[in-house]
């Protein structure tokens, strides 16, 4: 039964990534689950300079979301 449920994740995007995807905070349906990379499909980002945190822990573009997570995707910004 569970496999047919639509699962959700909370996504927060910072900096230019938010501009490219057109939102800063959003709850997204992820079907049965998906890789972080698929959230950024079709968007020109520099993968080496992206930080991914899932529930506050370091993750990466290949990490798999299964539902219920809080995902933050941010650039390596400097600020000086």
């Amino acid at each position: 039964m569970r496999s047919t449920e639509t699962r959700k994740v909370c996504v927060k995007l910072l900096g230019y990534i938010a501009e490219m995807l057109g939102f800063r905070n959003r709850e997204l349906n992820i079907g049965k689950g998906l890789r972080v990379r698929e959230l950024l499909k079709g968007v020109n980002v520099d993968e080496k300079r992206i930080i991914v945190l899932i529930n506050g822990k370091p993750a990466n573009m290949d990490s798999i979301l299964r539902g219920g997570e809080y995902v933050v995707i941010m650039p390596v910004v400097g600020g000086g």
Binding site: M20, L53, P58, G79, G80
Partner: protein, 610 residues
């Protein structure tokens, strides 16, 4: 020599005399430029124990082999001296037309000794150097000083100046240019003020001779195009460093209430998006196509350029969540010529001291009017609290006692810049080992640390801090070019040896550039040890107790603190990797390996080397 002009202008203010020194090419090969030249000169020529505000201190302005050439973000220079705030080595860089003009006038640097009896400013036009009366300028803000000097000398000059804070010898007064470009946090402006030197005006009309001008032009054009293609270029131009407010808040490193917390409830009101709503103008340094100077209109209807550090330290760190009011404080700091980071720390320290009843004055968190008054009390040293805080938070804590040193947020006497480190051990090490005291310039390791995990205290983190110190504190501070194309947009480091080859005709590998950086770090360390004599110890490299003893009370990292034992382990690894002993003192072997064997005898007069 090509790329370098091979010449320093030497100025003696006591005698009002000048001379030109043609330096040995070996100096350029061993120390590259900028910070490298600055520390070499200060080590060789400054007598140990010199009072920083005496005429005997040496004020140095240094450019590097890329300064003023048509390659990305090369319009910067370094200002250095023995710091009156820390009593150790102090420097800073700023973007200014003066950097370009200095090189076009035919100099890689200016070395200033002595002091004038009366206010003067220097006017330099190629070979001509004049000492001009600055009575009318004394007391003027940095903005008005530049305006006046542009009226007198034309708009096509480069100007460096100080404001009232420098004149009044506030120990964290800095040097200013172009309404908001500032450098020399550890009191370089006070050193300039102590010499009664109000400004330096430079007009240079010569070509900077390079080894291969066509190749340099081609590479430069390609470089600028490459920067424009980076995915975050457009957004960077919109928000610049101000985007970091949101980033720091998300990662709980936004300094809040004098570094008690890492999250601020009004962060969204003071960040990049809030800035965009009040932005009126954008500007940049010479030879830069990233132009990150975001000019806004403040609560008093005046214009000011905002940056992350300024806004965090004059905003969240003092509990102020109104960007237009923060902008007023930022503008006043720029007009008076005082460092925004240190003065933000000083105000935050005073608010906490007031809360703890260590001060009779009532200064509440987030009280804009009180903060503004206090800022002026400090600049003009017009009352006890102003005089207390004008000497920095380390000094203020020594006077106030009651363990206030635990929350006087500084390392080596320099106030910490805007990253809270309760839960960022590598960034704490970066502040701890920065060669000018707590500053983010040398090893901004926080983004990398967030990426790899914040809990751990590993050799890998220590190695990363050193790698960043080599690149940022070493290579960029010497070139002198801005590090932001690389760190912010991902402009590859490989460009720089190519630029250097075209400019100087010399091949530099990264191994050699990093060796130069290590030589500079070790010489700066030797400078500190020589100045501190018996008082030097590894505690000089440890951040304040707050981060170790007082956990975060809010946010997703509630309860986190640094672990002192583990921090000390990282510090030991740091020393080991640098070839320094357990006291943080360079070993004889390290000095020999870096070609610094000639300083062994002098250091051994002070301390036994291992």
């Amino acid at each position: 020599m090509k790329g370098w002009t091979g010449r320093f202008l030497r100025v003696n203010l006591s005698e009002q005399s000048t001379s030109v020194q043609e330096y040995e090419p070996s100096l350029a090969r061993a120390f590259l430029g900028g910070r490298g030249f600055a520390i070499k000169i200060l080590w060789d020529e400054l007598r140990a124990g010199t009072a920083p505000l005496s005429p005997e201190n040496i004020l140095v302005f240094m450019a590097g082999p890329l300064t003023g050439l048509p390659v990305p973000s090369s319009g910067k220079l370094v200002v250095a001296a023995k710091s009156p705030l820390t009593s150790g080595y102090g420097d800073g860089n700023l973007g200014s037309r003066a950097a370009v003009m200095l090189r076009r006038a035919g100099y890689d640097g200016i070395i200033i000794k002595g002091a004038s009896d009366k206010p003067v400013y220097l006017y330099i036009e190629n070979e001509k150097v004049e000492f001009l009366n600055a009575d009318d300028l004394w007391g003027m803000s940095t903005f008005d000083t530049e305006k006046k000097l542009s009226e007198t000398h034309g708009k096509d000059v480069g100007i460096l100046c100080i404001g009232p804070a420098g004149e009044n010898l506030v120990l964290y007064a800095n040097v200013h240019s172009q309404e908001g470009r500032a450098g020399g946090r550890p009191g370089m402006g006070a050193v300039m003020g102590s010499k009664k030197l109000k400004a330096i005006v430079i007009r240079g009309t010569r070509e900077i001779e390079t080894a291969n001008p066509e190749e340099l032009k081609r590479l430069g054009e390609e470089g600028y195009e490459e920067i424009k293609k980076k995915p975050n270029y457009d957004f960077w131009r919109r928000q610049g460093t101000m985007a970091t407010v949101e980033w720091s808040q998300e990662n709980s490193v936004l300094p809040t209430f004098n570094f008690r917390e890492g999250e601020f409830e009004n962060a969204d009101k003071i960040g990049g998006y809030a800035m965009e709503k009040i932005k009126v103008l954008q500007r940049g340094c010479p030879y830069c196509n990233m132009i990150c100077g975001n000019v806004v209109e403040d609560a008093e209807g005046k214009r000011v350029e905002l940056d992350y550090e300024n806004v965090a330290m004059l905003g969240s760190d003092i509990g102020l969540g109104d960007l237009k009011k923060i902008s007023v404080l930022n503008r006043l700091a720029d007009e008076y010529g005082i460092d925004t980071i240190s003065v933000g720390n000083a105000i935050g320290f005073a608010m906490e001291a007031s809360e703890k009843k260590l001060l009779k004055e009532k200064i509440e968190w987030g009280d804009f009017d009180a903060a503004k008054t206090l800022l002026e009390d400090i600049v003009f040293k017009r009352n006890d609290i102003g005089r207390l805080l004008a000497n920095g938070v380390k000094y203020a804590a020594e006077k106030l006692g009651n363990n206030s040193k635990d929350w006087a947020m500084q390392v080596k006497g320099l106030e910490i810049s805007a990253y809270d480190c309760h839960f960022a051990p590598a960034m704490a090490l970066s502040f701890g080992t920065s060669p000018i005291g707590a500053h983010h310039k040398d090893a901004w390791v926080i983004a990398w640390e967030v990426q790899v995990g914040r809990e751990s205290y590993t050799r890998e983190k220590v190695a990363k801090v050193i790698e960043l110190q080599r690149i940022r504190g070493g290579v960029f501070e010497c070139l002198t070019a801005c590090r932001l194309p690389w760190i912010e947009l991902g402009f590859e480091l490989d460009w720089y040896p190519k630029f250097l080859k075209a400019a100087t005709g010399m091949e530099f590998t990264f191994d050699e550039l990093y060796r130069i950086a290590d030589r500079i770090y070790t010489l700066i360390r030797a400078f500190w040890i020589r100045e501190f004599r018996g008082r030097w110890g590894r505690e000089m490299d440890i951040p304040p107790a707050r981060w170790f003893k007082e956990p975060l009370t809010k946010g997703r990292y509630k309860g986190k603190t640094l672990d002192l034992e583990k921090y000390n382990q990282m510090l030991s690894w740091y020393y080991e990797m640098r070839g320094w002993d357990e006291r943080g003192v360079p070993t004889k072997k390290a000095l020999k390996d870096l070609g610094l064997e000639n300083i062994i005898t002098e250091l051994e007069k002070i301390i036994t080397l291992k």
